[in-house]
């Protein structure tokens, strides 16, 4: 069997374009069968594989400025913290795609990975998923819903990768072309703020953007070598990131 060149799927998110509208959050929940909030859920106990956060410049009205940060699993490539701590081997880094694969069905719910993840990108099912009566028929057949007691997170819409590969296979192709596989958040963004692709392909737009001036990763000094990059041409955004991430959000 021919060995495919391993891909490193990643994205570059343009913070100068993101309007904080939340379309990515909604598209992600629909694609991945993430249920609506339990009545008791809060922003700490809800499930938002993709989540838009606001980062302010720390100044009050009228000098306040804010930028919107879509945060998802950063797909760490090196010393992946969640993989290192899982007692169940329920997470692994897929060598062929670079995606950090979370298997909710193997998870026993110890939440060690949630403590280990420096980006708080992992979510626990505190309740069984419940859709309003009759709405279960809108679930996506490519993704299995999870029961309570397990951790889940973004897997770069692995169901869509599989769908693209199956379509290519039906045509006799082993490789998918760029653009055939696009995660739901990337497709949905109205401002086209997210560029997605194979970072291992030097010619791809995402690789070029990741190398460009103004591109950075969150918590780079931890050495997780994440595959999600952010970029901005506004100096104050870079300043705020260096000093602001991890502080309490400005709202209350």
């Amino acid at each position: 069997m021919a060995a495919k060149k391993p891909a490193r799927y990643g994205m570059v998110i343009d913070l100068d374009r993101c309007t904080g509208c939340g379309a990515c959050m909604v598209a992600c929940a629909i694609e991945n069968n993430v249920p609506p909030a339990n009545p008791e859920a809060t922003e700490r106990t809800g499930i938002t594989w993709m989540r838009v956060q606001r980062l302010g410049n720390g100044r009050p009205f009228p000098d306040s400025r804010a930028v919107f940060f879509p945060i998802l699993c950063q797909q760490c490539g090196h010393h992946t913290p969640c993989v290192a701590v899982c007692p169940q081997n329920a997470v692994e880094v897929d060598a062929a795609t670079g995606i950090v694969d979370q298997m909710p069905q193997r998870c026993l719910g110890c939440r060690y990975c949630m403590a280990a993840c420096p980006y708080h990108a992992r979510y626990f099912n505190w309740w069984d998923p419940a859709w309003p009566a009759g709405m279960e028929k809108t679930l996506n057949p490519d993704v299995a819903p999870r029961m309570r007691g397990v951790v889940e997170k973004c897997n770069l819409c692995h169901g869509r990768l599989h769908r693209a590969q199956a379509k290519a296979a039906a045509e006799g192709r082993r490789e998918i072309t760029a653009g055939e596989y696009v995660p739901a958040c990337v497709e949905a963004c109205p401002a086209k703020a997210i560029t997605f692709g194979d970072l291992a392909d030097d010619q791809s737009e995402v690789a070029q953007l990741a190398r460009s001036e103004g591109a950075f990763r969150l918590l780079e000094k931890l050495g997780t070598e994440s595959k999600v990059y952010y970029r901005s041409e506004r100096p104050w955004v870079h300043q705020a990131v260096k000093s602001g991430i991890g502080k309490e959000p400005q709202r209350g």
Binding site: C21, M25, P36, F61, A66, T138
Partner: protein, 686 residues
């Protein structure tokens, strides 16, 4: 010799040892593991063939193209249509979960009649008979009481049918709902615009056609004039944080600078019949006075005026926030006047005339009741009010409508939700939901070309659903169904032989003159397509009138919308999010307002820390917002990006679920010109 306890233990021990040498324990462990993983509490996704269907989104006037991924016949996810001529492949957050709306458990499925505080099911004929009786009564008594249709989505073919029916009804009047972008006669050539000066319009956050505007973003400068630091304000190239209600003052201040420094377009000024009068009005608002009124430094106002006209074609837009309702006439005229000064009307990059798709025969303008705003109707004059609010996307202040109702009146709401218009209705008629009925969408209000999109029916409506046209036909005892009139309209488009069809399925375009028959055109549109005419050529209009008879309204608006009030010193500024301010949203939207703080939620207000401290309220405590017209309970969030002295109040769905979005708007009360954008308010701890 009996069996003792020790014997029993030995027997059981042997059994246990033996059991471990059989497959039983392992089979049981496997079986139980798998059984519990597939707990009955976790639903299974549907199985079946996956198909792709196309339609047009009708949740707001942007009419974005929709690609639906369906399992057999049930859409499971929606996405935009790439290369669509106006929506550019985009669907907003509300559009992405639109397929949930027909399935909302709270959805109205049968006709209801109000009995006190509750609703009871009744047959549709009861409703039709009650309305018909009232109409008969008006005819027989010869009274001047009116029959009105309030249309939340004007410009559709159904709207034409309403207007024609009102032409024959006794004292019929056709009203545009306050949430509707008024059927503008001009669109904006945004791809070539140089500067956009927006007075409160959510330009980057659900305005016009989002895909089109965001696609053009890199090519225009955006100056946002808004009290609140909205998403648009955060991403604009400049933000002018004016005091609440001072838009007209700023517009006249900018006009003053443009006229004084001769930065305006002389040719456009010459074509305005009352330019001198307008200039005299603007002369009363030099930068210093505008600064006092708006709270901005005078130098900022001067710089903004120069900035406005300094980069290519400039357009000034006045938007109504989806939660705050329409802007007053005074503001709108003052802001529109800036476009005359900038010379952007009829110019490339500016305002270009919109057309309309050819109408079916029998719908000439003379046969139709004209369009009116709610404020145009005389107070206490409406006997029968039929509200078409089938998408329930906007929140209204009911007292703006209530004051127009006669003492004895019937209100019929054609809707799917008991929130919104149905709250005050005597009868609720269950309208088909989004995706359940073939309907059309006209060109979005910002697009300067005639357009006609068909939204196909991907789902079956409930058996008792009745659409507005059907309801009118029942009362009249007959008449063409909406689908038939739509077919006639498509035939008229085909006969006009202009424009082209954009096919959602493959992005191809076909000239209408190459489509063989009207049936073929219908089929192409119903499968997923829109008809779009050529972009109109820039053309300077003839004479325009800037102020008309409204000079005093402009002056009133500019002199201050919010008079000081000792008892109510704060300014209540409601705001909403497009597609959700009416409250009937997919439960998946909890991601935005409950499981994150992307939206604070319809049960919160935001205050500057100084304001909160002055009233003794801490973050996340519940407060009562009190105005002269009413009050409501809201949870307070403290945010130092809020202007001091202002209460920002989100209108929309909430995690607690029990705060009706419109309760806040009802507390705002209605100003003389029918707007409710602001109110004086006070706060106290709950």
């Amino acid at each position: 010799m009996g069996l003792g306890r020790r014997d029993l233990l030995k027997l059981m021990g042997g059994g246990a040892a033996g059991l471990f040498l059989t497959p039983v324990p392992w089979r049981l462990i496997d079986g139980v593991a798998i059984r519990t993983e597939n707990w009955p509490g976790v639903p299974d996704p549907p199985r079946g063939e996956v198909r792709t269907r196309y339609t047009t989104c009708t949740l707001c006037p942007a009419a974005c193209g929709v690609r639906a991924r369906s399992v057999v016949d049930q859409p499971v996810s929606l996405a935009g249509v790439a290369a669509h001529p106006t929506s550019a492949g985009v669907l907003c957050a509300a559009g992405l979960c639109g397929h949930h709306l027909p399935l909302l458990p709270s959805r109205v499925r049968q006709p209801l009649a109000r009995r006190g505080d509750k609703f009871q099911p009744v047959p549709i004929d009861t409703v039709a008979a009650a309305v018909a009786a009232a109409l008969e009564d008006i005819r027989n008594s010869g009274s001047a009481e009116r029959v009105a249709v309030l249309d939340a989505r004007p410009g559709r073919t159904a709207s034409l049918i309403y207007r024609r029916w009102l032409g024959t009804a006794p004292n019929g009047i056709y009203l545009l709902a306050p949430s509707a972008d008024s059927s503008a006669s001009l669109g904006i050539d945004i791809a070539r615009t140089g500067t956009v000066l927006s007075f409160g319009a959510p330009v980057l956050d659900g305005w016009g056609t989002p895909g089109r505007v965001l696609e053009a973003r890199r090519s225009f400068r955006l100056i946002q004039v808004e009290t609140r630091q909205s998403r648009t304000a955060l991403l604009a190239d400049g933000w002018l944080p004016i005091r609440p209600g001072t838009e007209a003052a700023l517009a006249l201040g900018i006009a003053n600078v443009l006229i004084a420094e001769k930065l305006y377009d002389a040719a456009a000024a010459r074509s305005a019949s009352d330019f001198a009068e307008y200039a005299a009005l603007a002369a009363e608002f030099p930068p210093q006075r505008a600064a006092e009124l708006t709270g901005l430094p005078a130098q900022t106002i001067v710089a903004a005026a120069r900035d406005f006209v300094g980069h290519g074609t400039a357009v000034a837009v006045a938007g109504s926030d989806p939660g705050a309702g329409p802007m007053g006439d005074g503001e709108r005229i003052a802001i529109a006047a800036l476009n005359v000064l900038a010379g952007s009307i009829g110019r490339e990059g500016g305002f270009l005339p919109r057309g309309e798709a050819p109408r079916p025969p029998g719908f000439e303008e003379a046969a139709l009741a004209p369009e009116h705003g709610i404020a145009d109707a005389p107070d206490a004059s409406i006997r029968v009010l039929i509200i078409d609010d089938a998408r329930a996307a906007g929140a209204w202040c009911w007292s703006a409508i209530e004051r127009k109702l006669a003492r004895a009146h019937i209100v019929v709401a054609l809707t799917g939700s008991l929130d919104g218009a149905a709250r005050h209705a005597d009868f609720v008629v269950p309208a088909p939901a989004y995706l359940e009925e073939v309907e059309d969408a006209p060109a979005p209000p910002d697009v300067p070309a005639a357009m006609f999109s068909l939204a196909g029916a991907l789902l079956k409506p409930p058996p008792e659903a009745v659409d507005g046209v059907d309801f009118l036909n029942r009362m009249a005892g007959g008449g063409a169904a909406l689908a038939d009139v739509l077919k006639e309209r498509v035939a008229a488009i085909h006969a006009a032989r202009r424009g082209e069809v954009f096919h959602y399925t493959d992005g191809a375009r076909t000239a209408v003159s190459d489509v063989k028959s009207a049936e073929d055109l219908w089929k192409a549109l119903e499968e997923g397509g829109c008809w779009i005419d050529r972009r109109p050529a820039p053309k300077q209009e003839g004479r325009v009138t800037i102020l008309g008879a409204a000079a005093d309204r402009v002056l009133e608006a500019a002199s201050g919308r919010l008079p000081a009030d000792a008892l109510y010193p704060l300014a209540l500024v409601p705001y909403g999010w497009r597609g959700a301010s009416g409250g009937a949203v997919s439960p998946i939207m909890t991601k935005l307002y409950q499981e994150s703080d992307v939206e604070t939620g319809g049960d919160t207000v935001e205050l500057h820390p100084d304001t909160a401290q002055r009233y003794g309220i801490a973050d996340r405590q519940v407060a009562i917002v009190q105005t002269r017209c009413g009050s409501c309970r809201r949870r307070v969030r403290v945010d130092d990006a809020v202007m001091p002295g202002v209460i920002q109040a989100e209108v929309g769905p909430s995690a607690s679920g029990n705060c009706r979005p419109e309760a806040l708007l009802d507390a705002c009360g209605v100003a003389g010109d029918g707007t409710w954008r602001l109110a004086r308010a006070s706060l106290r701890r709950a």
